[in-house]
């Protein structure tokens, strides 16, 4: 117990997990937008767009997130000097790494979001799209007003799994020094190695507290939104 108190007193554990929440929030928004666009491309009537969508999913899903994060921060930001934060600001390095980290998380998880939405599209009965076509709707209105709203309902469970994975994957940003729990944990080990187990318990418990309710919520929500067919 003393160990836990020492750690909670010496380190800003709440701030580290607040960083996790911020990364998850922005990463999820980005991933959701890119993923939806990619999923629509994959079912679109234009062959070229289908190929784009498939290529995106295949390439991104098979690349390690660590490599993407590393490439964004060390390749694009440091080597090519492409910066996402104002260079004269005093918090330039921190902001730039944070934003590139969010970009990498969004790009990576978009591939999984696209797959989830595509599986959601498959749950929508064929009659729905046929009805939309029968009243003369072209492809995009059919997708945006008829199919996608129902597809999201069917995709809640895999989308929830992706969000949970995203939350845990924010730890990968320790690779580029974003001040989140994994980086804090390493500092704790460096300076308070005698508290090996309390350190692990604090950080692990933080993630359990974040992800377990998410899992329960998404299970409940997907059941609530499930359509009897």
């Amino acid at each position: 117990m003393d160990g836990l108190q020492t750690l909670l007193g010496e380190y800003d554990v709440v701030a580290a997990f607040w960083m996790t929440i911020k990364l998850t929030f922005f990463g999820a928004i980005g991933a959701f937008i890119i993923g939806t666009v990619v999923a629509v491309m994959r079912v679109s009537p234009v062959k070229v767009f289908q190929t784009f969508g498939t290529a995106y999913v295949t390439l991104v899903r098979n690349t390690p997130l660590t490599l993407l994060v590393f490439g964004c921060a060390f390749g694009l930001a440091i080597t090519l000097q492409i910066n996402l934060a104002p260079e004269n600001s005093p918090t330039f390095i921190v902001d730039n790494n944070f934003r590139w980290g969010v970009v990498a998380l969004a790009i990576y998880h978009a591939a999984f979001v696209a797959e989830a939405i595509r599986s959601g599209i498959n749950t929508v009965p064929q009659g729905q799209a046929e009805a939309a076509r029968a009243i003369g709707l072209p492809f995009l209105p059919t997708i945006t007003t008829i199919v996608l709203p129902q597809a999201f309902r069917g995709a809640i469970a895999p989308l929830g799994n992706t969000l949970i994975a995203l939350t845990k994957n924010t730890t990968v940003l320790a690779t580029i020094g974003v001040a989140e729990p994994a980086l804090m944990m390493r500092n704790m080990f460096e300076f308070n190695i005698s508290l090996l187990y309390p350190i692990f318990i604090i950080v692990a418990a933080g993630f359990v507290i974040l992800t377990l309710p998410m899992g329960l919520f998404f299970t409940w929500w997907s059941r609530k939104l499930a359509v009897q067919r």
Partner: protein, 304 residues
């Protein structure tokens, strides 16, 4: 799948075909423009990433011999050890979750839920310092130990869940038949249900191998000499970070893509079986003649 998505739009008429063609051309032009901009940015004298000097290291044998191949071996070694340990631990944990004994079931359940929620990197860091200070592991074994422990704890929990859902998806009659011939619940599980469940899970296990291979790149953070770390060492030595990262992603994508294809092929093979789930390695193997006949029937029946 294709039959279903094509219902989202009408078969294009002459006007729509023209429109689709224009859209396709616009799409290709946008992509070419993006590639051109990227190449221009890379060729820009300030960056100068396309110069031969930055790419030549990849045709020199020494770069492969000293960096990329050892890195690849490191990645594959960590992944291979982890996948073997994860399957063994995962099957045991999955059996535990299906146990008749409530305490075993609860302990395994809590273990699985807990370690599934802990990020792999957190587990690797813990294993690293635990190995260093508690077990007194040192030298080059320590990073491998950290990598394998981190990967195994998470993935064995995933496999335990796969085992559980695989056993649940079996027809009830399998368990009942086991009980009817006088097997105990444990014997039924291990001799009747698990072999079938594991065969059915094989594609998922291969897919999980892709996850393990990708996650092995996390071991970069515990200084394990895997592909990303070795690539970085090469890039520092040759001063060609951007080309190296491109080559590294190509290697990862190729390996993982091949594994994904293997998983799909396995799944298709299992699906083509008569019962959906083929008998696994039980003592009484399937009669080969019968299986061939069944497969012939299936082929005639066409895809379901």
């Amino acid at each position: 799948m294709s039959a279903e998505t094509s219902l989202l739009f009408d078969a294009p008429g002459p006007k729509a075909l023209v429109r689709h063609r224009i859209l396709a051309i616009v799409g290709v032009l946008l992509l070419l423009a993006a590639i051109f901009l990227v190449l221009k940015a890379l060729a820009n004298p300030a960056n100068d990433q396309l110069t031969a000097a930055k790419w030549l290291p990849f045709v020199e044998w020494s770069s492969w011999k000293d960096y990329l191949i050892p890195g690849l071996i490191g990645t594959l070694k960590a992944a291979a050890i982890s996948v073997v340990l994860s399957v063994v631990a995962g099957v045991l944990l999955g059996m535990g979750r299906l146990s008749q004994l409530a305490p075993v079931r609860i302990v395994c359940g809590v273990f699985v839920e807990f370690f599934r929620s802990v990020p792999v990197l957190i587990m690797m860091f813990f294993a690293y310092y635990f190995g260093l200070f508690t077990l007194g592991i040192s030298g080059s074994v320590l990073p491998l130990f950290a990598a394998v422990v981190g990967l195994t704890f998470y993935n064995s929990c995933v496999i335990a869940e796969l085992v559980r859902s695989g056993v649940y998806s079996l027809p009830r009659g399998q368990r009942e038949a086991g009980y009817a011939i006088g097997l105990t619940p444990t014997q039924t599980l291990s001799a009747v249900l698990l072999p079938q469940a594991i065969t059915a899970m094989l594609p998922s296990i291969v897919s999980q191998l892709v996850v393990i291979l990708k996650d092995s790149a996390l071991a970069y953070n515990v200084a394990y000499l895997e592909l990303l770390r070795q690539g970085q060492n090469l890039a520092v030595y040759k001063g060609n970070l951007i080309p190296t990262l491109m080559v590294l992603s190509a290697i990862y994508i190729l390996i993982n893509w091949a594994l994904t294809r293997l998983a799909r092929a396995l799944e298709a093979r299992l699906r083509s079986g008569k019962r959906g789930i083929k008998p696994g390695p039980v003592e009484l193997g399937p009669d080969p003649a019968l299986t061939a006949e069944e497969e012939a029937q299936d082929a005639a029946a066409g895809p379901r």
